[in-house]
Subunit: 328 residues, 2 copies
Amino acid sequence: MKTLVTGGAGCIGSDLAAALLERGDSVVVLDNLSSGKIEHIAPMRDHPRFTFLETDLENFDSVASAMQGVEMVYHMAANPDVKFTEGDATDKDLRQNLVCTYNVLESMRRCGVSRIAFSSTSAVYGISPIQPIPESAFFPAPISLYGATKLGCESLISAFQNLFGWRAWIFRFANIVGPKVRKKGRTVIGDFITRLRENPKRLTILGDGKQAKSYLLSEECIGAMLYIVDHAQEPLNIYNLGCGDSLSVLRIADMVVEAMGLSGVEYDFTGGEGGWPGDVPRFRLDPSKLNALGWTAKRNSEEAVRIAIQTTLAAMPVAAHVDNACKP
Amino acid sequence: MKTLVTGGAGCIGSDLAAALLERGDSVVVLDNLSSGKIEHIAPMRDHPRFTFLETDLENFDSVASAMQGVEMVYHMAANPDVKFTEGDATDKDLRQNLVCTYNVLESMRRCGVSRIAFSSTSAVYGISPIQPIPESAFFPAPISLYGATKLGCESLISAFQNLFGWRAWIFRFANIVGPKVRKKGRTVIGDFITRLRENPKRLTILGDGKQAKSYLLSEECIGAMLYIVDHAQEPLNIYNLGCGDSLSVLRIADMVVEAMGLSGVEYDFTGGEGGWPGDVPRFRLDPSKLNALGWTAKRNSEEAVRIAIQTTLAAMPVAAHVDNACKP
């Protein structure tokens, strides 16, 4: 099977590409290396069934030319900056999520490719009155441009799937944590470690620290995606990827402090319910549908974060400004 | 109040613009006249509080320059061709719905405009297992590019509303019917009349004729929009606009035949559940939320269609290829 992975040099995409190679697929990775890293795909570069194309999905012709002969697409590329800060451009998610996803879908249609898996996000739910959140009962009111455009991508996939008789799998990710490193400030674990290395006496925590979210280990996320594609055979398959519990930011701070062997750290809170504009302060994903399909996460949110703290501490050079959590 | 109406030369947009003028607003209409018509706004052209700008929303600078001093936006412009036919471009809805809506929202942000009403559609629901469909419990899986991109627009509005502290009103329209004419083939009433005038013995009906949808009169739609904007004061207000019943295509055919004084017409069915790819064969909108706000449609679906048949017959020159139903 010839499989194309967009965003395949990213944290999750590169692990997925490696897993697909392991299964025997021929894997073509597309990545513009804007947030993906060449190091992530370095171990695969010499594999006879691996191809890397440095391609921007905003360029339709490049995507269409890479789509020749492909049988299955894993569309993992996206703008990874979930935060919107005053002064940021507001069209980044429109271009990198919606327009790029359209380019992928239209390339597939023109090349007769009819199977797509897509990394969506729990951010599509916005602030849900129902917790944990099932896939089937939600009032779609995303509060971030990231969540809004991911829901728009889901909708486009749903329409293409129906109009052209495709099969599609959509994964609504919890917060994915793992050993690969990311830029400072993007997610909580690496940010805390970096700040505590800079100043082991005080830690600034965004919001009121009571934000509580579902976490899932990156390796479990890859396993779940492949399991769902193998076992869910509806025309359109939408699954939450996570476990039904959540973990607070304050608890994560305590865990990082403990893992670093610190004590007596004073916390400063920036205040407010969410960490930044568009942050969903609290959510739990209902994994019942995925559990019923036969897959259950081995680690709950606290165990996933505990492992990610250890692997990040091991992987992060002291004083480097990096982070370890991946968000599609 | 200075109000901007995009798509204000369309069937619904022009009636809305007239109602806003009547209320005392200064009204700026933007329309590229791709489907809107200059005749629709002709009666308002000399009004001292009316301005028409022939503007394409795909041109960001034009939209931004029209946004100066505006206090409220009614964003009614969209690609009106709900049908997708093999050979059509697949990016029409992406450009005319998603990109244009982004341009409207970003222009608003830059000009400090913080109130927007938006014409969405029942097509966002796709094929819903729950009937009638409430706003608050749906599995978003649109089956048409039109429905998909309208849901994407809703999501963008939801994110802008939250990030910048706006107030927004989103209307999910039933099938809107009224006296203004439209191109042949776009909706059922005008299409049947045109075909029966061409051949009063036989009528081709798309699908199996059992498609059944909620209908609402255009004038009631305008009244409901203004009522909701006046009375719904949540930050984000999403309302179904329609009544809870539905009417079948076969019943509409019988009503048109009767209204034209014909008898013994033979029906040919093209077959299949939906009339075209992406057609939602059956839906009823749950109007409970709107009813609880204090507004109820005076006409049910059958009464609305009956009136629309009469006004269309009166408005349609014999043998002209036009249609009378408006879809946002």
